[in-house]
Homo-oligomer: 153 residues x 2
DNA sequence: AAATCATGGTTTCAAATTAAAACCACATAT
DNA sequence: ATATGTGGTTTTAATTTGAAACCATGATTT
């Protein structure tokens, strides 16, 4: 189950999160969790994946602290799966994924679901990466830099 | 190779992009491409994945229009893999992933690579989702809504 | 009380995918 | 002529997946 996603023994800042999420199914589960789904059966119906796989994915997400199990809210003797803070932290990633999807996977006139501001019912703005001083940054305007070498080596 | 990621025949706005990317390896390839890698061998050395898998992933990314192959820039008789516009569009997603990783996968004092503004060498700002009017939005402040039913049914 | 049903899983097993290694083709260098 | 580097493909075994069957628990019907 602990599939190594990189040959380096310490996973980098991108690979480490990927490793925790596990796979695409897991991300769809998380998305459904953002949509308010909490029960095993709800996820299964929504995603249509095999129960054993769902079971494994939920277990993995819980193990990685993305979901947490809580004793059912409605008296039923089962448990529910809810997003932790860590899980909630995936929101921007899901938005990024959705916006990319809107940009490149739909015809300009093709109808698709939209993420809207609850208060105004307006679609949300696009995610934008900005510098400290507020300038918008494209990919070419950035570099990944190594952490400053600590003194001991 | 066309693995169905959802039981619904039309994939939703999140599942469709996931389906195109393919798997985690592909996303790491894309990240390396953002870092300037272009050659088969570079990707293989950087990621340490089996050559047949890399081959398949590259092919898939090209098939989905995320990478494009161009005749080698340096005279060598090989080809190079470069990001298309669609591929470049994945930048925010990678940033989101990286920031989530920084938030939850490193000790507060653990050193890690950083994404910085080329011009100032300052770390970039956090991605923030905002409403049209500029208010910052948390997950709970948003909903996903279905497209307006077109008249014909 | 007994039988039935709903939920939330686990187990079993066949099929698909992945990974490691060997192999190959082409070009350049020695 | 031989070796070496690049960019793959093929072969084969191991792992993962997914469908279906099974099971346990509690609630519901008869």
């Amino acid at each position: 189950m602990a599939k190594r996603v990189s040959h380096k023994d310490s996973l980098c800042g991108v690979a480490r999160p990927l490793d925790a999420i596990g796979d695409w199914w897991s991300l769809l589960i998380v998305r459904d969790a953002f949509d308010g789904l909490r029960r095993f059966g709800e996820f299964q119906k929504s995603l249509g994946l095999a129960k054993n796989i769902l079971s494994a994915r939920l277990r993995n997400l819980v193990a990685h602290g993305i979901l947490d199990t809580v004793p059912a809210s409605d008296g039923s003797p089962y448990q529910e799966y809810v997003l932790t803070q860590k899980g909630l932290g995936l929101f921007p990633l899901l938005v990024a994924l959705r916006q990319w999807g809107e940009d490149f996977f739909f015809q300009p006139d093709e109808p698709h679901v939209m993420l809207v501001d609850r208060k105004t019912n307006q679609p949300v703005r696009r995610l934008e990466l900005r510098a400290q001083d507020g300038r918008m940054l494209m990919a070419e305007d950035t570099v990944v830099v190594a952490p400053p070498e600590s003194g001991s080596r």
